[in-house]
């Protein structure tokens, strides 16, 4: 496999924006992010809203990979778009390395959008079919005000970093590449901006398994050598386990559980996380799944259930779950879950009594 070439790496590290807040300052702090999409139809002033993201808070440390998992419609992609300010949040604060975004004394949205880059799922749709790869990659640095020659050098070194020789690939068009190569170009385009954070929204989901492994290895290499921070969104729980340091589980616009990868996968506390984990195929034809971990589909985010949003599909649901929304309670070493059944003193029959 083509690793990251040392010369390209040095170049990239030189371009890297300075660390502002020091190593202990989290790279990203997200507090109470809200996005409700208004639907068309209905009387004005009384239009139904989709509660896509409804009060999401989390922290990403420097050099960490945060995995975000959940079913479709849980708000994971909207969260990613809010982080990039591709969609304007209704409420909430984003702090990048100690500097609030779009706030007095903070950084501007444009500054955020340079420091945070995104790679999307559909490698073909995210490239302009009429532009050569070089022109595609140069576009960002040029828009950020880099002189043409410098931008071109940045593009070539980015291509080298993802294992595509610029001599062979710079003048090609997206349709001339395979899916795996195209996704490498998308990563190179993100890297050409010398970002500090990469948001990977289902970036390997559309790739074949043998190619997926190549791209995952590349992402690991790049993270290490360029000191990047990743937000990795995927529905594939095995891939998330492989790449993430911490994992956040979302359900209907809320965070239901977050914690270190080992503790989430080995001792999940929220019944939804447990159900998600046992929905994975067994990978052993002698021990096939026979029990349904979860029945039905997620309810509509237009009128989510009262109290705990998972209660309509939850085997442990009790009266208290409909009455009050469970808070995200801290258990041990940063493992948090929002479920009445595990929060002591919540009034749920399975919860420990307060001492």
């Amino acid at each position: 496999m083509l690793g990251v070439m040392p010369q390209a790496r040095e170049e990239a590290l030189r371009q890297k924006p300075a660390d502002v807040g020091g190593p202990r300052q989290p790279m990203l702090i997200v507090d109470d992010l809200v996005k409700h999409f208004k639907l068309t139809g209905g009387a004005p002033g009384n239009r139904p809203v989709v509660r896509a993201v409804d009060g999401v808070s989390f922290v990403v440390q420097k050099g960490e990979t945060l995995g975000i998992v959940g079913e479709s419609g849980c708000g994971k992609s909207t969260t990613a778009r809010l982080l990039m300010q591709l969609v304007k949040p209704d409420a909430g604060v984003i702090v990048l390395d100690g500097e609030a975004v779009d706030a007095p004394h903070g950084i501007t949205i444009r500054q955020l959008q340079r420091a945070v880059q995104m790679v999307f799922q559909d490698s073909y749709a995210s490239l302009n079919p009429r532009m050569t790869l070089e022109d595609t990659i140069i576009f960002g640095p040029r828009a950020a005000g880099k002189p043409r020659v410098e931008a071109r050098n940045a593009a070539h070194s980015a291509l080298r970093m993802v294992g595509l020789a610029p001599e062979l690939f710079a003048r090609r068009y997206p349709h001339e590449l395979s899916g795996g190569q195209r996704q490498r170009v998308n990563i190179a385009r993100a890297l050409a901006m010398s970002p500090r954070v990469l948001i990977l929204d289902e970036a390997v989901s559309a790739l074949d398994k043998s190619v997926e492994a190549q791209v995952l290895n590349l992402l690991q290499d790049l993270k290490e050598s360029l000191e990047l921070t990743y937000v990795f969104i995927s529905h594939d729980l095995n891939v998330v386990r492989y790449i993430s340091d911490r994992v956040m589980v979302m359900y209907l616009g809320k965070v239901v559980e977050v914690g270190p990868v080992a503790s989430i996968y080995e001792s999940a506390r929220h019944p939804y996380t447990q159900a998600l984990l046992s929905s994975r195929p067994s990978m052993d034809p002698k021990q096939r799944r026979t029990e349904l971990p979860l029945s039905g589909d997620p309810p509509s985010p237009i009128s989510p259930p009262s109290g705990c949003r998972f209660r309509t599909r939850c085997a442990l649901a009790e009266a208290v779950c409909a009455e009050r929304e469970p808070p995200l309670a801290d258990f041990e070493s940063g493992h948090m879950a929002a479920c009445h059944a595990v929060i002591p003193g919540s009034g749920h029959s399975l919860a420990a009594k307060p001492s």
């Binding site: 043998s210 195929p281 990978m283 971990p293 979860l294």
Partner: protein, 353 residues
């Protein structure tokens, strides 16, 4: 070459399916070849695919995009574009599929052999209710009244476990969630009691929690109705959940065939073992993944020998001479590799350790 096809030999040992030794195969495919010829391309999509399938068996076609899985099942339904040149033999329940006239095809599709597609949102007609679509299909195949067809449609929706089925009968596809839409499409496919069901990546577009629901449902229906099923997937995990037999495809050929247990326990083709190693599993964390280097071959210029040779870690000069035969390594387990016997032996030894 055909004699070595696992499918044509003996009863299937896995889980007691395949109704005994005497059962005639329901589906026989011999040397199926498909070329796509147009002014500016000449692609060889399938290069001699042969298999047989008995009643009640589930065959899983496993492979990456471009390996020919979908082309294989679409030829069984005669759903390929007119520019495709198809040769070989396809016999399903005594019917020579490739000789059918368009009129006869209408009866065979849905009646004898039926298909579930990957995207229920595009496969269902958005302008008709679910109930109408199922009832219409029933009335095309059988001479029943509108009311009777609607009753049957309701029964079908209940069979595929759609909650409050009576209400959903009058729902349009866009009013249903992805999981329910896929159930509706399964009901549609089963509406005329086909003998062979083809499922082309039916769970790929679904969430994990819904995927396992649909897999369990398909397994249950398949057992109850005793259909022969051909299941196309790129996901080894899905194959493990549903397959009796598996055929691993690479650039238009079967490269390994056998029961799912045998193939997973002791893969006898370097591509299969490469694929199994590339799958990210729970033990992979903290290690480097071992991907298969390179990319699948260009179908317009395939190498003369083994088409996996350019990516194969165990390639020898003999690999490039000619396409290897599918050789049997153990009862019902075959591989298209000159090292097949060594690889299989190695796999078995690793298993014992």
């Amino acid at each position: 070459m055909l004699e070595t096809e696992t499918a044509s030999k003996g009863p299937v040992t896995a889980s007691g399916v395949g109704q005994g030794r005497a059962a005639e195969p329901l589906v026989t495919v011999e040397d199926l070849r498909v070329r796509l010829v147009s002014r500016d391309q000449n692609l060889s999509l399938l290069q001699g695919v042969s298999f047989t399938l008995k009643e009640g068996e589930v065959l899983c076609l496993l492979g990456e995009s471009g390996s020919g899985k979908t082309v294989t099942v679409r030829s069984l339904m005669r759903l390929l574009p007119p520019s495709a040149q198809v040769s070989g033999k396809i016999n399903i329940g005594g019917t020579d599929i490739l000789a059918l006239k368009p009129r006869q095809l209408r009866q065979v599709r849905g009646g004898l052999i039926s298909m579930i597609f990957q995207e229920p949102a595009t496969a269902l007609d958005p302008t008709f209710t679910i109930g109408n679509q199922i009832a219409e299909t029933i009335r095309v195949h059988e001479n029943v009244s509108q009311a009777e067809a609607r009753k049957r449609a309701l029964n079908l929706l209940e069979m595929v476990q759609v909650p409050s089925a009576a209400r959903r009968l009058d729902a349009y596809p866009h009013e249903l969630s992805g999981g329910l839409r896929q159930r509706a499409m399964i009901a549609l496919a089963l509406s005329s009691r086909p003998k062979v069901l083809i499922a082309d990546e039916p769970t790929t577009a679904l969430d994990a929690t819904v995927q396992i629901q649909v897999l369990l449902l398909l397994r249950e229906l398949q057992r109850e109705l005793g259909m022969a099923t051909i299941f196309v997937t790129h996901d080894v995990g899905v194959a493990c959940e549903i397959a009796d037999k598996v055929a691993v495809m690479y650039s238009g050929r079967f490269v390994e065939t056998g029961t799912i247990d045998d193939v997973l326990a002791a893969p006898a083709h370097p591509y299969t073992s490469g694929l199994l190693h590339a799958v990210v599993n729970s033990e992979a964390r903290g290690t480097r993944l071992t991907p298969i280097p390179g990319a699948p071959p260009d179908l317009s210029s395939l190498p003369p020998g083994c088409s996996f040779a350019p990516r194969c870690p165990r390639v020898q000069s003999a690999c490039n001479d000619r396409v290897p035969d599918l050789v049997e390594v153990s009862d019902g387990h075959a591989s298209r590799c000159i090292l097949a016997r060594d690889l299989s032996l190695q796999g078995t030894q690793e298993l014992r350790q």
